[in-house]
């Protein structure tokens, strides 16, 4: 297979500008005759659909939700990065590019990441113009804060609901195109197969979730913006419906899955409290601007806390171990996510954990409350403020910054985080892996494009905070609408796609067959129960720490689980009605297959990098040991339907402009 990333030649900083002006154009008259299918309405999908509609293409946009506004981008809390340098703290496009490459542990493409950094500033402008109410200073200008792995303030935010506000911006742009007739919206429609005609992506089979009917949709090109696959772990911060099905069905039709084992485990989530738990809740990384992470120095104190005999507040300052500040003085509590997660795991594994399960560390705002309180007292001219006054004033400042997050924490745990330190533990949050795409965001199947979290392209082995929103919107607003022209300009002679074509008939039969199969197993286990089993295997063997032996074992376990699923799942109802259990069953069936591929990918990569931590490859300080000689590549897996073994295709990564080094946050 010829894996050409199609990176334009020339100076890094000029590649995109020059390339953009050389992309062939499609005339307005031709655009009207070209149908583009966009699946997914999160930041990437909605932005792409809206922008393509504005350009004059005939867009057909699909979401399995009842409304495009429910896509999981809505839940992103902390912010969005952009190289605006509004803070005059030395930020630049190059620095954002460099931070992202380094944050990704040198496993992302230089040219793609540089382009991302380059367009980041336009995203903020676009969002402001759409009416996104970003945080403002008293002077009316945009406010910034810091995120992990970074020493500048380049994160724009809208309280703790940045994803919501950006998605609503994209949703409204999409709504406008719907009202103008440029986009046709199909809600409660789930893509269940990709249709390929003469080697090109030409349509999809979607199930109308309200009626259960399968419907055929033809398009000159298909764009996926269907998000990540974190729910393969069952418990994650992803929404319950987030799934890999659209991407996985494409893999079954020949698309390549790149670096599937690169998973981001986010350090600050509310810890698991019981078996009934259906999902995990993130506490935004922005909290690490002001919160200090610690565990008790003495195991006896930790045990007393675990048994409920002591609280965190009772541990004197001298007996606390602020382990991130101790291990990484240069970045302190703001080390990248993979580093922070691993460090928390190390402390808990040593027995210093602070919840009944021993799997939690403190995130403490005591120092911030005092600092802000003193500063506020100063501003108000109260020179002999009592400690109570200072606390009260400080809590008000913290509440203004993080109020909604503190409330959310209290609702879930029943504890007041202003008074007792938060308890947090790492949880699956994002997947850097995804469909392989070239510089045009086109997969190896001509005419099939992947955007946002659905592709693998920009975050390497670890994503920096506030970069997911940036990438989703960069792809959707500013990259794909241009690059899709490379393909579509060659399609102006292609007539409307005929959905009576044999390929559509075959794909529809394929989906009908799978749905019937699921219904007809009539076994004894619920989809949920089987999904939980998969999650346990993935978390145990392919989670925060992995090793060859465990991965080998996991593969057999997943293969057995696949057999168990197809012989013992129970799906109530029929395929011809609204049937949420059937929807879930299809998604879990795909997760099981993906899980096996993730384990294979993790076993193949004999190095540690970013979120992929192979226990065999670490230095004496417990830091990751990369093997640039042998693994400085993108691992692309081909596993089309009917093939027993997945095949690996390698895309070597070249670093022409930056010197690659060991990642150091000390």
């Amino acid at each position: 297979m010829n894996l050409d990333a199609k990176i334009p030649v020339g100076e890094l900083s000029e590649k995109w500008t020059k390339y953009k002006s050389s992309i062939p154009l499609v005339s307005p008259a031709n655009k009207r005759r070209i149908d583009v299918i966009v699946v997914g309405t999160g930041l990437a999908g909605a932005a792409a659909a809206a922008s393509l509609g504005e350009l004059g293409y005939n867009v057909h946009c699909f979401t399995f939700h009842d409304s495009p506004r429910r896509a999981h981008s809505i839940a992103a809390q902390g912010g969005i990065n952009a190289a605006k340098n509004y803070q005059n703290d030395g930020d630049s496009v190059y620095r954002l590019f460099y931070d992202t490459i380094k944050g990704g542990d040198y496993r992302a493409r230089e040219a793609n990441v540089y382009r991302l950094a380059e367009v980041s500033a336009s995203i903020i402008d676009q969002a402001v113009a759409q009416g996104v109410p970003f945080a403002r200073e008293y002077g009316g200008l945009l406010e910034n804060r810091s995120f992990g792995g970074v020493q500048v303030s380049r994160t724009f935010y809208a309280r703790g609901q940045t994803g919501q506000q950006l998605l609503i911006g994209a949703y409204q742009a999409l709504a406008r195109q719907v009202s103008l007739g440029n986009v046709k919206l199909y809600n409660r429609h789930e893509m269940l197969d990709l249709v390929i005609i003469d080697g090109k992506a030409r349509g999809i089979i979607a199930r109308n979730l309200l009626t259960g009917k399968l419907e055929r949709f033809g398009g000159h090109a298909v764009v996926l913006g269907t998000g990540g696959y974190g729910n393969v772990f069952y418990l994650s911060t992803n929404a319950m419906g987030s799934n890999v099905t659209a991407a996985w069905k494409s893999v079954k039709r020949g698309a390549l899955m790149a670096n599937p084992c690169f998973t981001q485990i986010h350090p600050t989530c509310i810890p698991v409290s019981g078996d009934y738990q259906s999902k995990l809740t993130l506490m935004s990384e922005s909290l690490r601007n002001d919160g200090r992470v610690w565990v008790p120095k003495n195991i006896s104190d930790a045990q007393a806390i675990q048994q409920g005999k002591k609280t965190g507040a009772q541990i004197p300052e001298a007996d606390r171990d602020y382990f991130l500040e101790r291990r990484y003085p240069a970045f302190g509590n703001l080390v990248p996510r993979d580093v922070a997660s691993r460090a928390a795991k190390v402390e808990c594994d040593k027995g210093h954990g602070v919840s009944p399960t021993g799997l939690a560390v403190f995130l403490d705002f005591g120092a911030a409350i005092e600092r802000y309180g003193k500063s506020k007292a100063n501003v108000l001219g109260i020179h002999n403020a009592t400690p109570n006054q200072i606390t009260e004033l400080g809590e008000a400042v913290v509440s203004e910054k993080y109020g909604n997050l503190f409330e959310m924490y209290e609702k879930i745990t029943g504890e007041n985080p202003y008074k007792t330190p938060m308890k947090i533990y790492p949880a699956v949050h994002y997947t850097m892996g995804g469909l392989w795409v070239d510089y045009n965001l086109e997969t190896n199947i001509p005419g099939l494009f992947a955007t946002g979290e659905c592709n693998f392209s920009d975050h390497g082995a670890n994503r920096l905070g506030a970069s997911a929103l940036m990438q989703g919107l960069a792809d959707g607003y500013f990259v794909l609408p241009y690059t899709i022209g490379v393909f579509l300009s060659q399609e102006i002679r292609t007539p409307k796609i005929d959905t009576q074509h044999q390929a559509f008939v075959e794909a529809e039969q394929n989906v009908t067959h799978t749905l019937n199969q699921l219904i007809n197993v009539k076994g004894n286990q619920s989809v949920e129960a089987l999904h939980k089993k998969l999650g346990k295997i993935m978390w145990e063997y392919c989670g925060m720490a992995r090793n060859k032996e465990g991965l080998t074992k996991a593969r057999t376990m997943i293969q057995d689980l696949k057999k168990e699923f197809w012989s013992d799942v129970y799906v109530p109802g029929t395929a011809n009605e609204f049937n949420p259990e059937l929807e879930k069953a299809m998604r879990v069936a795909d997760f099981i297959e993906l899980g096996e591929l993730m384990v294979m990918d993790a076993a193949n990569r004999n190095e540690s990098c970013g979120g992929h931590f192979r226990e065999e490859y670490q230095d004496e300080g417990g830091e990751t040991l990369r093997d640039d000689e042998n693994y400085k590549y993108v691992a692309n897996w081909s596993w089309p339907n009917g093939q027993d073994e997945a095949k690996l295709y390698i895309e070597p990564l070249k670093y022409e402009f930056i010197k690659i080094a060991a990642r150091n946050y000390k």
């Binding site: 939700h65 809505i74 113009a129 009416g131 403002r136 019981g274 009934y276 109530p572």
Partner: protein
């Protein structure tokens, strides 16, 4: 962890055409579960008995996507103020309690199945004008439009709406005034959105009427039940805009 033995009276309805009814179930939950996790326990139990699980909309389970609905003991999103169903935890219920669970009921929200309703009328209201007409790439520098902190904050308060429809379910008239006015405030308060304000008000209000939502009679249940604290002030702002629009017509 104390166990809660609950009697659930749940609305079951096969589809829009069929007649629905309450069915009673016993569920054993614990105080740390969210309401939806308690419903998961019920569904797991039903599936194990080879019965049809209760259909309900849900997704993010952290109070932001707006998918979950349900009227719990007569209140949209249940008894706790400022809380969506997914963020409502069972520690707010007592052992032995009977809980009545119904769908959001309104003419403009037809029932799909059990507790799932069709809220696409909300999307059509937004499509009628809930946007700022700016194409990708047309924007000027973000800091070229300074917005004072209080205005940005007020706009944000309105923009915090999650489009769940609790306001409609709470209103005896099934009115969507709070939802529509929140969007009108969000955009109309900002300098970027002022240009189209009058047009927007006109078009969104017309669409709202067309969808079959009722009129506002100043009861205020919408504000009381809104999980995101959207204020009635928005309705006043919309009405002012609407009067102005009618005079200009």
């Amino acid at each position: 962890m104390s166990a809660l033995h609950l009697n659930l009276k749940v609305w079951r309805q096969k589809n829009q055409q069929s007649k629905g009814e309450f069915q009673t179930y016993q569920v054993e939950a614990n105080e740390h579960m969210s309401f939806l996790e308690m419903m998961d326990v019920l569904n797991q139990d039903l599936i194990e008995k080879k019965k049809e699980p209760v259909a309900f909309d849900h997704d993010c389970r952290e109070g932001i996507c707006g998918a979950c609905s349900m009227v719990i003991n007569g209140k949209p999103h249940g008894p706790l103020s400022g809380t969506t169903t997914c963020q409502l935890h069972m520690r707010h219920f007592k052992d032995g309690e009977t809980i009545v669970v119904e769908p959001f009921r309104a003419k403009a929200f037809p029932i799909v199945r059990d507790l799932v309703v069709d809220r696409s009328s909300f999307d059509r209201i937004i499509q009628a004008g809930g946007f700022i007409s700016v194409n990708t790439g047309q924007a000027i520098d973000g800091n070229a439009i300074p917005i004072d902190k209080d205005t940005a904050s007020k706009s944000f308060d309105a923009a915090a709406c999650i489009g769940c429809g609790a306001c409609v379910a709470a209103c005896p008239n099934g009115s969507a005034m709070l939802f529509t006015s929140a969007k009108i405030s969000h955009l109309g308060l900002l300098p970027q959105g002022k240009m189209e304000h009058t047009r927007r008000v006109n078009n969104m209000v017309s669409q709202m009427d067309e969808e079959g939502f009722g009129f506002c009679s100043n009861i205020g249940a919408c504000e009381a039940e809104c999980p995101k604290g959207i204020s009635l002030e928005n309705i006043a702002r919309m009405n002012r805009g609407y009067i102005k629009a009618s005079l200009l017509d």
